[in-house]
């Protein structure tokens, strides 16, 4: 009878573990995406800060991929175009654009902190579950001997 209930517990535990492992994987993927977005925004912020120091007609090299660049002249040093989502972009002044980037970075930072907290909780449950599983397996092995 006790073995049956241990078998049952083991079965439930294994299902729970699979669920938590999948959740942890999904959370890690989301955190990876957030990190990539944060790196992207940090670069944007650095670029905006550099452009702020440049004058009109300054010669710039714009990356076109494949480590290649085209030479351009800065037409307007105080205006940039910022994406708003859904394929729409709006022209903004440099301080406005910097504020948008900062706001997005702050939001992402909050989401990342929440995600990391969630992940550590899930990882704790996975570790706890694995330890219990090992205990149960050892008990079942002992019972068989």
């Amino acid at each position: 009878m006790a073995t049956v209930s241990k078998d049952e517990e083991l079965r439930k535990l294994s299902m729970e573990l699979r669920y938590f492992e999948q959740t942890a994987e999904a959370l890690q993927q989301r955190l990876g995406m957030m990190n990539a977005a944060m790196t992207d925004l940090t670069y944007a912020n650095m670029t905006l800060e550099s452009i702020e120091k440049e004058k009109e007609n300054a010669e710039l090299l714009v990356p076109i991929g494949g480590s290649s660049y085209v030479k351009v002249k800065l037409a307007e040093s105080d205006k940039v175009v910022v994406g708003m989502g859904a394929g729409v972009s709006v022209e903004k002044t440099l301080p406005e654009a910097k504020a948008v980037v900062k706001e997005r970075l702050d939001e992402l930072e909050k989401s990342r902190a929440a995600g990391q907290q969630q992940l550590s909780q899930v990882v704790e449950r996975v570790n706890h579950g694995r330890a219990r599983m090992e205990e149960l397996l050892a008990e079942l092995r002992q019972g068989q001997q």
């Binding site: 175009v81 708003m84 989502g85 859904a86 394929g87 729409v88 972009s89 709006v90 022209e91």
Partner: protein
């Protein structure tokens, strides 16, 4: 596992296959619904941002890899129309999801009866 399945009566095997097909279809519908929901949320956010911008603000719309200058009112109208279209799509997908779930439940019940006829009868 497949060996065990092949030992089952053909009618049960057929039902199992139907169950798997329904589960896959439901999964596809749920994925599509999630995509549409995400696009709707993005449009809502963009519309809210546009609301905050001046009427004479310079706006661009993506056309492939290019950004083309566009009129704010036109962009607003386009996004609202797209949102309505997505709303209709969500309704259709929700109806499909409901139908799939009820079909799944039906097949699951029948399978339970097939696999455990005695206990199913005693429960009735």
């Amino acid at each position: 596992m497949s060996d065990e399945i092949s030992k089952l009566p053909p009618q049960v095997q057929e039902r199992l296959l139907r169950l798997q097909q329904l589960q896959q279809t439901l999964q596809t519908i749920l994925q599509q619904k999630q995509q549409v929901d995400a696009e709707q949320a993005e449009i809502d956010q963009t519309l809210a941002e546009l609301e905050k911008t001046a009427d004479d603000a310079v706006i661009y719309k993506a056309a492939g890899a290019l950004l083309v200058k566009a009129d704010k009112a036109k962009v607003n109208a386009d996004l609202t129309e797209r949102k309505e279209l997505l709303g209709t799509r969500v309704t259709v997908l929700a109806r499909q999801e409901e139908r799939m779930r009820s079909q799944l439940k039906e097949v699951q019940t029948k399978l339970q009866e097939d696999l455990n006829p005695v206990s199913a009868q005693s429960q009735q």
